[in-house]
Each structure stands twice: as C-alpha cells, then as structure tokens.
Symmetry: C2
Subunit: 294 residues, 2 copies
C-alpha cells in the first residue's frame, strides 16, 4: 500500500478516481432517466394538446420489413441511403431491382368443418361449409380479377374449400403448401383461458407460420410487370397472424380478430412495400344464416 508512504499524493489520486466515478454515475443516471423518458413517450391523440396520453409507444414503419427494399438488394448497400450517380440520378443498379407492380393477396378461410373429427381426414367440410366455399368461389368469380394462382394449405378442410373454389375458376394454376396448415402462431395477448396449446405447439407452429408469412407476403419482384392477384385458402389463426404481421401491428394481437368461415380478407402490397388492408373477413355475399365462425 502506497498511501501509508504518501497519503497526500494517494488521496489526490484517489480523489480523481472518485470524482471520475461520481461523474460516471451522474452520466449513467442521466442516460437512464433519458432512456426512461424516451421509452415512455407514447402516442398523442393530437400534436400537442392531450388530456391524456394514449399508452402506446411510437413505432416506426419498417420499410424493409420483407428485406426487399431495393436499397438493401444492391451491393454495397449503404444503410437506407439512396445511392445516386454523378448526375444525381438514382443509380441504375437500384432501379433494376425496384418493383413496379402491386401484389394483391386474397386470404380465404376454409368453410365450416366437422369439429368432432379426431384426425385431419375426419375434419372434412360440413354441408354448410361446402355451401360457404361455393358462395366464396362464386364471389371470387364475380369479382373477376386477373387471378394468378390458387394456393392452399394441405389440410383436408382447406383442400376441399380450394377444390370448390377451383370449380369457379378452373383455369387457375394451383399450389399446395404444408407451411399454411393451421397451428398456434404466437401466444396471444391478452391470453385466453379456454385455448391453451402446449408449449411445443408454439415452438413448432409459430416458426412454420412465420416461415409461411415470409414466403407468401412480400412486395413484388422487379421483374413482375403486371399486378398480381393470388388466392390463398388457409386457416383462421394463419390469416389473423398474417394480417397483424403484414400491417406491422403487434403479432401477438392476432386473437383480437375473429374470422368468419370462407370469408375474404384482402391485403395489397405496393411496390414501395406499403401494405394496405382492403377488407377483413368479408362474408357479405352470404345470407346471414349461412355465416358461421367456429
């Protein structure tokens, strides 16, 4: 110990250290308080004059949510900065990967099915479910959009629904995908008492449904010249999760949405990556007594 030899010198040194520590503590405290305040800053109902703040954090729209923002597709990419050439024009390599078409994705829930079935095969459409699917096929035909593809989950009730829809649109190419099967996407907030999947279901289904989202929901590629209209026949949980994810709403809020059998939910993804919900759970083309939810 040197302080016994020269207590004054040691004290000076110690004092410096202590002052630094104190300054550090004050700095940390300031950062902490600042952070606390900025993370607490919620949304306001108007710019300045609010009687009470809406308890919601300000969350920016992620323009590169599908990792297809043109700037992120060219190398070397400069985070978020549009690269320009010497004449201040957007560089050709960015223009080459910039989408021009809009993707329309029509999500259809399967029709009502036999809830008593223990296996997927036994969970076939009820008579009402077949009627609902037929009405939806008819409505899609009536909408007369330039459909590009009819995609469906591989579960019996979704395949049957897609089969019935396909009768109305017989020329439409079909695609089936296991990733679209029903499951437990993410523990819902608020939690519900009556629906408690096992942890392993969220573990496996959640990852798979997120994979399906990344596969099907994204902006058009640059080489797509015409707007596209895809029909995806799948399941309530999958559709509700897709809608929350696509709109950048909290994904665990999916169970706040309720979805009628065979209803139409329409998402558009613009070339800019902006997403819009045109309708959710549209079943207005069915007689009221034909509408069912579970």
């Amino acid at each position: 110990m040197t302080w016994r030899k020269n207590p004054l010198h040691f004290l000076k040194q110690f004092s410096k250290l202590s002052a630094a520590t104190t300054a550090g503590a004050i700095t940390l405290l300031s950062i902490y308080v600042y952070d606390k305040r900025s993370s607490k800053a919620g949304l306001c109902a108007s710019w300045t004059n609010v009687s009470e703040e809406i308890p919601y954090p300000k969350i920016k729209w992620n323009h590169n949510w599908d990792r297809r923002d043109p700037k992120s597709l060219v190398k070397p990419s400069k985070n978020g900065v549009v690269e320009k050439d010497e004449n201040n024009n957007i560089k050709n390599d960015i223009l080459d990967v910039t989408p021009t078409a809009t993707r329309n994705i029509l999500l259809i829930r399967h029709g009502q099915y036999n809830l008593n079935g223990l296996t997927d095969t036994d969970r076939y459409l009820t008579t009402l479910g077949r009627t609902q699917a037929d009405l939806t096929g008819s409505r899609l035909k009536e909408l007369d959009l330039p459909y590009t593809k009819l995609i469906s989950s591989t579960m019996t009730r979704a395949l049957e629904t897609a089969d019935i829809i396909h009768k109305h649109l017989p020329d439409l190419p079909r695609e089936k995908n296991d990733m679209l099967r029903e499951g437990a996407p993410i523990p819902p907030e608020p939690p519900v008492g009556h629906w408690k999947p096992e942890n392993y279901q969220f573990y496996t289904d959640g990852q798979r449904i997120e994979a399906a989202f990344r596969h099907y929901i994204h902006r058009a590629p640059a080489d797509q010249t015409e707007d596209s209209f895809e029909i995806i026949v799948c399941h309530a949980n999958v559709i509700r999760y897709f809608v929350c994810r696509a709109l950048q709403f909290p994904p665990d809020g999916w169970l706040r949405l309720s979805l009628a059998h065979a209803s139409i939910t329409w998402l558009t993804v613009r070339p800019s990556g902006r997403v819009s919900l045109k309708c959710y759970g549209d079943s207005g083309y069915m007689e009221p007594k034909k509408i069912s939810y579970s």
Copy 2:
C-alpha cells in the same frame, strides 16, 4: 479541511463514500443494462427458437382501457386486486358494477360523395353513393339484429347515408353527433406524401375524434341487461382510428387500413372489456362494380 489534521481518518471516510458511489454506479449500470435488454426484448415467432426476432415490443393488453374495469369503479380501489370479503367471495360492490352484456358496434362509412364540393353541403352523395347506402341499409335489415340506435356524424354525406339506412330500419331511434365528423385523427405512420393536413387539423380533430372514441367505444354498463347493437354512420378516418384504438393496435397505423364506401365494420366489446373485430370493410353484399373507395 480536516484531512490535513487527520489524513488517515479522512481517507477512510472518503474511501467509504467512494465505495458507495462506485456501488451506486454499478447498480445504475445494471438497471440501465437490464432496462435496455427488457425494452429491446421483442416478440418471438415461437417460444424459444427463432431465426430472427420480430421487431415488435411486447405490449400488454390494457384491461382497463375504457376506465370501466369493475375494480376501478369501486372505492377504495386497490390497484388491480380483486377485493374479497371474509368468505373469499368477490365483494358485492364489485359485482354491482360488473357488466354482463356485450356491446356490438357496427361502423358504417358513408357512401360515395361529390368530391368537387367545396363546402360540406356540396359534398352530397353521388347516385352511386345513394345506391351503396341503400344496399347497406338492406343488408343491415337482412342481418336482422336487435339494433338499439342509429347514430351518425352531422356531415351531409353521413346524414344522407343514415337517412337512407333509416328507411330500412324506420323504428330505430336516431342520434347525431358532431364529434363523429371527418378529420385528421393522428399523424399517420408511415407518413404519406399526398395527404398533409395542417398541424392545427391534427390539433383540433385528433382530440375530438379521440373524444368520440371514448364516448362511443367502451364496455357495457352493469345495468345493461341485453346485448346491444348500435349502428354508427361516420367516416373512413374516424372508423380506421376507432378500430386501431379499440383493438389496442398502434393508433398511428390507421392509414394502413383502406375502407370501401358504405361498408360494414363490426366491433364487439365483451363484458370483460375484451374487444374483437368480426369484420372490417365488408361490402360483399354489393355487386363488384358498385364498390368504391374514394
């Protein structure tokens, strides 16, 4: 200065102070790091195994969003704790204010209107707008729900739409409210280039539309014995904002939703305060060529 008189004693005291400061700094640092980690913790697609975190903070459902949680209505209220009597039963004063009925709120956008009108009076429904309103009135009649009230904004296009709907439901009591008029609820995220209201519009409209939300969207009072079905005829921005707020989705995300003229959007508010969206922008009862958006 006492340290010249007794440097050793002073050094001991100083050392204690310094140690305390250092300990304090470490504590602050720990809190800061912990907070950083917890505020950064986003939602996961599944419980544990994610290839990539979904960049969304975990936000709890606010059960007392309408300030009508029974526990918050009795005095003295113990924050969130259900008060029980000596026999471990929920206290009568809480049961007395506990709702039992569900409120159904059917939000109808007005029909297409004359966009060239400079004043509200000149922004009357077009022929198509009148047809849309008529089809919606007819659909509401067909749904045959025990409607309790027909409410509307006081703007010409909303009043005209409500008048046409009322012809289909002539016995329904009517109510008009200025708070439901169209406006700029909150600066949208992501921002849009083509729609730039003046700051004072968000300042005045935002507060008013939030006031309308608090007035019309809430759980049933305890003395409501039957489920209610209210029809509210108003405007696209108001409805989109109401939907985001009611579902506890980010309110500034309202412009991610698109809304067809005279379409039906159906919210239910359960006695527990849980909110569910049954459909959004349903216009399936209209021929496709009758559907319009702006």
